[in-house]
Symmetry: C2
Subunit: 213 residues, 2 copies
DNA sequence: GTCTATATTTGGATAGAC
DNA sequence: GTCTATCCAAATATAGAC
């Protein structure tokens, strides 16, 4: 049982309303601030994010931010967690068929698109180039969970050897990275994802055959 | 004829010494500053570089930096140019044999090692994640030259189609990127370079055969 | 919860003496 | 060329009134 559930029970016993409208409003404002933060980060670069700009965008003064987040890094951390949740959501919603190559394509297309559609998020989650920032234990747990889910999918497909996993991650992040840095908004590398997976799949098959033969 | 050559001639006619010991000293100090800047960038992260720290490291006060570089971005630019020159140097010195696969391995190993051995340089040259920095025209010309040389090598090997080039760059940058962010100092992805190139090469051969057949 | 006012820090950059 | 002194701007963060 969580703390908030416990609180709800206590409130019922006291005859208080269960919903805390104040807390709900607080959460809504937090979400609004985060949305603004993403906008700023996308426009000015992740490193160019300032609480000042975020505050201005939501119509507040900078000090008011501290009613919602303890520090700038807390904002980064919340963004990081949001990114992880979104990624985890997409990983779990993948429509897999059991056809190994097809599922491999589906998964890696999802990954590359996820990276490409928001370079600021990509930078925050996968490049970690912000000087003082390191995700909190809670946020990092989300990242671990997402990667584990991804890994179990790959295992189901038959990709379990560490070198094979490493090769896939290199391929997909390479495609995403090139797309973001050399053709933002385009599809020059995006459209190579299927071919890359075919290439990788053929390579895997050859290796396996070679061992068996 | 360059301006400095012209100056040399004028000096000779005036009976002045050709070597300008003051200018030489100036260049030496500039180089020393750049070396310190690299050290700081490697330790504090590229974005964490400050003129203050650089000055302290070379035993100067911050304002003295401005006798050598007009601005902080000028320092970044000089570092960028240095990186390009080093890369160009390695590209031109590649010991190529004419054997396509072998040369492909040699070239990509060089590239990945170049990236991995200095993540700060990698970030500066290939990720471009510093908020205000953009290379000057002169420095960028060096980058273009390096990429063109690399491209002509690949063309000699038979990799000329844009999609093939894009696939190779995705593979190599992906390997470098993963090595840097997930196993700094190790060789988990580094040791996959040869296998990746074999995979790519086999893929290329299949495609060509398919077209011919 | 939001504001004004302010503290603090940091870091880039300039002026002018020596 | 180097220094001291200083400026300026940006940006995080806090105190306390309303």
């Amino acid at each position: 049982m969580t703390v908030s559930e416990l609180c709800a029970i206590v409130l019922i016993m006291l005859g208080e309303p269960i919903r805390d409208r104040r807390a709900e409003r607080h959460e809504r404002t937090k979400a609004e601030i985060l949305e603004a933060a993403w906008d700023i980060a996308r426009a000015a670069g992740l490193a160019g994010l300032t609480l000042r700009d975020v505050a201005h965008r939501v119509g507040m003064r900078p000090p008011s931010m501290y009613s919602y987040f303890d520090s700038k890094n807390a904002v980064y951390d919340a963004m990081y967690a949001q990114g992880c949740r979104e990624f985890l959501d997409r990983v779990t919603r993948l429509a897999l068929t059991g056809d190994a190559l097809r599922d491999l394509k589906t998964g890696s297309r999802m990954f590359v698109e996820f990276c490409v559609e928001d370079p600021a998020r990509y930078q925050l989650m996968f490049q970690r180039t912000i000087p003082g920032f390191e995700p909190s234990a809670e946020s990092y747990a989300l990242a671990v969970q997402a990667l584990r889910t991804m890994g179990s999918h790959l295992a189901k497909i038959g990709i379990a050897a560490p070198e094979a996993l490493d090769m896939v991650t290199a391929l997909t992040t390479g495609l995403a990275d090139q797309q973001i840095s050399n053709d933002p908004g385009g599809d020059r590398w995006l459209k190579l994802v299927d071919e890359a997976m075919e290439m990788f799949f053929a390579h895997m098959s050859n290796r396996t055959q070679g061992r068996l033969g």
